[in-house]
Subunit: 95 residues, 5 copies
């Protein structure tokens, strides 16, 4: 999984019928210092994430292992909201 | 998923029989500012996308989770046409 | 999928028994201008591609969705031979 | 698989219900000289890894082939703790 | 698949039970000139490869399509030992 920040959202009315109702958020991956790193990804929200929240995203077929995304054509899912993380003894992020 | 722009199309008459009838479009991934970013990808069209449209593409096994692509050897699918997206309060694209 | 050019072939006599008989070709990915881009890949041939032909390759589990590659340990397949592609109004390649 | 070092951990209370109880560790991939290489990854721990241990991680659908991760939305798993590795005749790491 | 050279091996006694007995080799990907290219990968050996041999590796779920790796948490497998490869008319490697 990757650490990521929710930075926006995407609206799409013409789409595969199976993804109707899915919330599609724009996230930017983070490194373990909390710096943005790499291109933005559009991720399906399975946990009710809000703007600016720090989340975990899973990619590939693993993105379909949630009730919200099962058998749907999505390759990225937000599957957790991060409370905190540490590197060694240092807390790098705390909500 | 990735934001992408439809930039062209590919014609192939000699191919795996199962992909007969599939429309194969050439798309370029976009970053969240709408700038092209990364190499062109050939993506199967599951939603009737047209030239220059902004779309969402899904990769890997997730690309096979549509009626058009089920069990076919395709690793990228256009599964939505984008109406708009925002980053924070700013609308970055509106159709 | 990716555009690619067939540049060579690979011979391997000691191998997983299930891939006996599969033709293994060396391909180089192309960008949408037809320029080589990225490292060579060894791809299983499902369509009878010849030297220097321009082809489409599919990666990952999707590479196993052909009669030739079903349930075999191959992660790239040539699933079409390209006749032509265009970017906007310009034909970039015609066989 | 990739060699990696356990550098930290992630706490997430709001998450997909199926991942409750999974330990989520922050790991950094290593090259074969033992140098950190590439961005940190959040990996589910299937073997009881501790801080600073050198481990092997598997990605993608293969990350779900353990009792701890089966059918869960995780795309990286720690599936072994490394005792040693060598390159040619040289031992590059020994626990 | 990718061309790769076997450069070493990895020992891990604490691991997912299902991978007991699997030989884990360290390989470095090669470009089609035979030059090392990209980071070392730990790959499960399904064909009895030896030190310095040139092999083919398959990644992702395809790495599980061998008797040795079926349903195991491995994302890379050595599925063939290369005898030779050519680019155009030139033999680039012969065992």
């Amino acid at each position: 999984m990757q650490l990521a920040r929710v930075v926006g959202s995407v609206v799409a009315t013409r789409k595969e019928e199976s993804i109707t109702g899915l919330k599609l958020l724009l996230v930017r991956p983070l490194d373990d210092e909390g710096r943005e790193s790499g291109n933005a990804i559009v991720s399906a929200d399975a946990v009710g994430a809000g703007p600016d929240e720090i989340v975990l995203i899973a990619a590939g077929s693993s993105a379909r292992q949630t009730a919200a995304t099962d058998k749907r054509p999505v390759d990225s899912v937000i599957m957790a909201i991060v409370d905190s993380w540490n590197v060694g003894d240092k807390v790098k992020y705390k909500k």
